[in-house]
Subunit: 246 residues, 6 copies
Amino acid sequence: MRLLLANPNTSPSITGLMERAARATASPGTDIKAVTAKFGGAVIGSRTEMVIGDFASLSLLAEEAPGCDAVIVAAALDSGLRAAKEMLQVPVLGLTEAAIHMACLCGGRFGLVVTSARTSTIMREMIAGYGLSSRLAGIRWIGRDPAAIYGDPEGSADAIAEAARRLAEEDLADSIVLIGAIMAGVPDRIRDAVPVPVIEGVSAGVVLCEGMARLGLRKARAGSFAAPSGRKVTGLDPALEALLRG
Amino acid sequence: MRLLLANPNTSPSITGLMERAARATASPGTDIKAVTAKFGGAVIGSRTEMVIGDFASLSLLAEEAPGCDAVIVAAALDSGLRAAKEMLQVPVLGLTEAAIHMACLCGGRFGLVVTSARTSTIMREMIAGYGLSSRLAGIRWIGRDPAAIYGDPEGSADAIAEAARRLAEEDLADSIVLIGAIMAGVPDRIRDAVPVPVIEGVSAGVVLCEGMARLGLRKARAGSFAAPSGRKVTGLDPALEALLRG
Amino acid sequence: MRLLLANPNTSPSITGLMERAARATASPGTDIKAVTAKFGGAVIGSRTEMVIGDFASLSLLAEEAPGCDAVIVAAALDSGLRAAKEMLQVPVLGLTEAAIHMACLCGGRFGLVVTSARTSTIMREMIAGYGLSSRLAGIRWIGRDPAAIYGDPEGSADAIAEAARRLAEEDLADSIVLIGAIMAGVPDRIRDAVPVPVIEGVSAGVVLCEGMARLGLRKARAGSFAAPSGRKVTGLDPALEALLRG
Amino acid sequence: MRLLLANPNTSPSITGLMERAARATASPGTDIKAVTAKFGGAVIGSRTEMVIGDFASLSLLAEEAPGCDAVIVAAALDSGLRAAKEMLQVPVLGLTEAAIHMACLCGGRFGLVVTSARTSTIMREMIAGYGLSSRLAGIRWIGRDPAAIYGDPEGSADAIAEAARRLAEEDLADSIVLIGAIMAGVPDRIRDAVPVPVIEGVSAGVVLCEGMARLGLRKARAGSFAAPSGRKVTGLDPALEALLRG
Amino acid sequence: MRLLLANPNTSPSITGLMERAARATASPGTDIKAVTAKFGGAVIGSRTEMVIGDFASLSLLAEEAPGCDAVIVAAALDSGLRAAKEMLQVPVLGLTEAAIHMACLCGGRFGLVVTSARTSTIMREMIAGYGLSSRLAGIRWIGRDPAAIYGDPEGSADAIAEAARRLAEEDLADSIVLIGAIMAGVPDRIRDAVPVPVIEGVSAGVVLCEGMARLGLRKARAGSFAAPSGRKVTGLDPALEALLRG
Amino acid sequence: MRLLLANPNTSPSITGLMERAARATASPGTDIKAVTAKFGGAVIGSRTEMVIGDFASLSLLAEEAPGCDAVIVAAALDSGLRAAKEMLQVPVLGLTEAAIHMACLCGGRFGLVVTSARTSTIMREMIAGYGLSSRLAGIRWIGRDPAAIYGDPEGSADAIAEAARRLAEEDLADSIVLIGAIMAGVPDRIRDAVPVPVIEGVSAGVVLCEGMARLGLRKARAGSFAAPSGRKVTGLDPALEALLRG
């Protein structure tokens, strides 16, 4: 199968980081195609950038998804996820969506490690949107932005492990989810220091996309996830317009 | 005060309809400035168009909001609402947000009249996102799209009144919210036929924006609604980029 | 319009404090009529006084509301609010109801500043009753009763600001609601010290009542907020009995 | 033990009906003292009468509860219940509170039979206030007011049984709660026709009060149910004022 | 009446402890029959032992319940409770179920004292299963296992009282529930040190069972608690098999 | 990898049905080992059989899981699931757990098709236990027991498709989950007749187990899913006792 890893941000280095993690996890028969948004934010760090990322995500997917068997929207905020599930004919998962469902399958409640307090609030809203608030044990932030984590992976791993450990011990989290593209590959670094399973979205997304593709679920032909068609739109990229006109 | 009524869709006729309703409701000292998106969808009828509308909304607001004292995002899906609250220095309300809070202030539970089953699902998610699921008595759809309602206001009013009446009598709704830009002015047509208060978003948004502006609430300087600054973005409209760079 | 500000407690000094705040906020065309309960508690500080305040509120409204276009029940516990919405033909809002909906319109979650731990528990129940628990970031109390706040406005403002600041920084509240009649006018004193919007009920109630009155919503003729009539009651004030007999 | 059965309404015939049911259920050592409110509504059928009933309940209890070991607030709306729990030194239960907890102890979800649609809405709010919404399978009303039920017990029993049967079969209720003072004694009439346990509040309240009294739980000395004292109140019945002054 | 107190664990000393507490609480006419499981765990301290305890509970009840009028499943995890309610013709209550409903009847929110962090997580899930999460103020653990508490009742009482006091003062719990068989009799030791009512399951279960038996509720003949019959089972104790074959 | 498919019921024919579905879905490198419980119920159709199934499940897993890389508890009620996740060192999924999480990954809300009204109630409780009530669009039953479905696959497929279609069209379910072992292979039969994705647990469980095994998540060493050890148990199968003694 061919799996699209679509970074809705404009940071190729982060795309590369995720691509390596995806290849390390994928089954032998899975071909990873990693792409990066051509416009928008380098990193999503605000609600405004969320909206831009949602749109950049759809523009990118409209162009790059054809020919792929499944798609990972590769950003913490699951940019444009519900729309992408609607618009495309193949399974689409978000990093956070994939990771928290994998955490649920471990049992009990999960704790989230995020970069900042600001992200914490937005993440809490997202978890509620997925209907999983009752399985959230807590959220802790490490106070480092993605660039700082990228530049100091060792020191950051210590900070992440400490937040994870406190989620397990003080908030009684039964598993830990590391939120964000920058967390690709981090679970391997901190597993010894954290007494419960540690999950991040790229690897979770790869195995879940492989699974969904294998199931061969039929695309919705009715309801709120049926693909739109015959819509009147103007001023968008040709690929996106074509999808909406059907 | 100057109130921006920003239609994130590309339908000037609907903007005109809303503008008339807004002027009919506004206080003497309120100046209404109505604007229409320059790209995107004519109507938001799918999750994909929601994402486009969110982005079109922010682009429009970045250009048109300066100089205004409050903003109504004038579409049923409250396009880009949370981001606009974050990005701008003045109060921003969405049509649905304004209408359901006004309904809450009437007491009890509200029922929603929407155009289609598809909108019903998305609206249920939105109400949950506002934390008001427990005050939702039910959702009923009339099976007409906005163009059909625009073209047949009398016949549509009958269908809307029937749905509203059933929400009150069968679902025990204590008030009725008519969802969407196309509902501007409709409450006056159906009030006699519906035994509970009937609310739509344009008029609710106008009076709530006037009230918020009068309170002079201070813009958040911290937390998840503080305005972003110093963000790296590319490929956007200059006004939007300028706001994010701060 | 004529707006009734009805204090269900027997403290004219607090009524005066609220009246000044209401006049400072009201539109030019709004006439404020402030009245004080003739029996009951000086302050509501227990569940027992809540019940007394609910009844005192209805007795006061039955006598004073005729001729008014909207009503604010001017106490933290929103005394008799749902009954007043049912009984009267005009919009009725409570201090806390008005303030928390205004906070919701700012976006995100709100934090509450209350006077005592005891009030904290009761307020948590009230927020749940309004269906807004998921938008509550936290409650903090300052450990001063209304009389102490009234007697030391400067020192109290510091304590209130400190509680508000911690709600924003530690509980990640996106706005702050100051609970109680005694908080009228306090937001102006603490805005510089608190990094998110600060709201109290008198000013919020005034602008929301003005907005509701302008909308001209039709009074419910059916459902759980239709006015009662033909009820058999004895031993009440004549005005209240007359309303129930219809 | 001495058990006070306090009807906060002014209908002695209903008090008598409940008293007979209470005596039929009580243990040999339990002495039932049944009293009726001296002012207020004959029946609570609106939100306004709820408030009056809450106050009438406290006035009645302040005078009649001394010397009793437990109290049943004997009306569907559990008039003044939380305040009475706070104000008195002995256990206090409401009819609906007692019945729904007894239903929970039967397992699964309960269905409610009420008199009218209007009561249905208010009852839904009450169940939410008790935190038990997730155990509510449904509410059905029979469209007869208490006077009609009192005047036609046989015909009413058929209507009640039909509502109960549909709750069990269509809404999958695992038990049935009959709401209101008028339902005292009704379970015996309909048990054969309903395939799940049928519960009403007077008998449930009697056995639960007996149990609480036997446990000898200590009255709260702190928190939101500690008895108030030193409160400034005016214009109330002497007994109620004395309790609040402490 | 004859009340079965069935310990699903294999610890006769704990059964004895509970039996003494049950006799101290029971009405004169209540005969307590205390029995202990013949296989399974000495104490339930893990999810695996929960499953074993559920099964041991049913095996024990199938053999011992005939001839009894009500049953207490006498372990913190309410072993096999819903199945026992289904399988038997008489009321069945669990220790935790009984205690938390008794706490609800005291009003407000309850706090839980448990032995360990591990139990805390499982107990939180149980409270959610009973639909009572919104009435849970907090959970605190004392870090002693049942054997340690049994061996040092005085020192343990101090630790329990401290946890209870903090639940009341810091978490604003309106009542305290002590979780587990080992807590039988403990409320009497700590009442003076805790400012809100203190409840444990054996005594709560006794009075609630007495009350349910007195009500004479009819066993469900339909729905999810009707007794199974005609089921094909093999390899179980004869008594349990007989019940399932009907 | 080696995947254990463990049927906690005593019906080898159903095990065979599931084994064929599992093999049809599994990756080339996955070896399926299908086993059947040696005691308990032929089918789980009551709460009592649930408890027996939970225990039979653990007994079976203690003996058969060693040497396997992941486990599917292959019954609708996810027998003993949380305990198995705790007890074993490898991932364990239940049929219903797997299917509903796969449905969530399709987006929106799912509808459930079950065999009977009785199962409907129990399934609603299970979905709540997984924290996913807000994603449940509805439950419909077909009124046929597993034996009837097994004996008439064609006619049953029509009944199942009809229930699924109504869930999509009337309850607005965005995907359909077929509940129970007997549904293995059924999605292929009804996909053309149902306009949204159709999911059942065996195939969902296989791909999710493969994914979890590939991720190599570390087993919890602390918290409520750490494996128990040093527990005192008697009278169990040697394999189960050995696991608990550690």
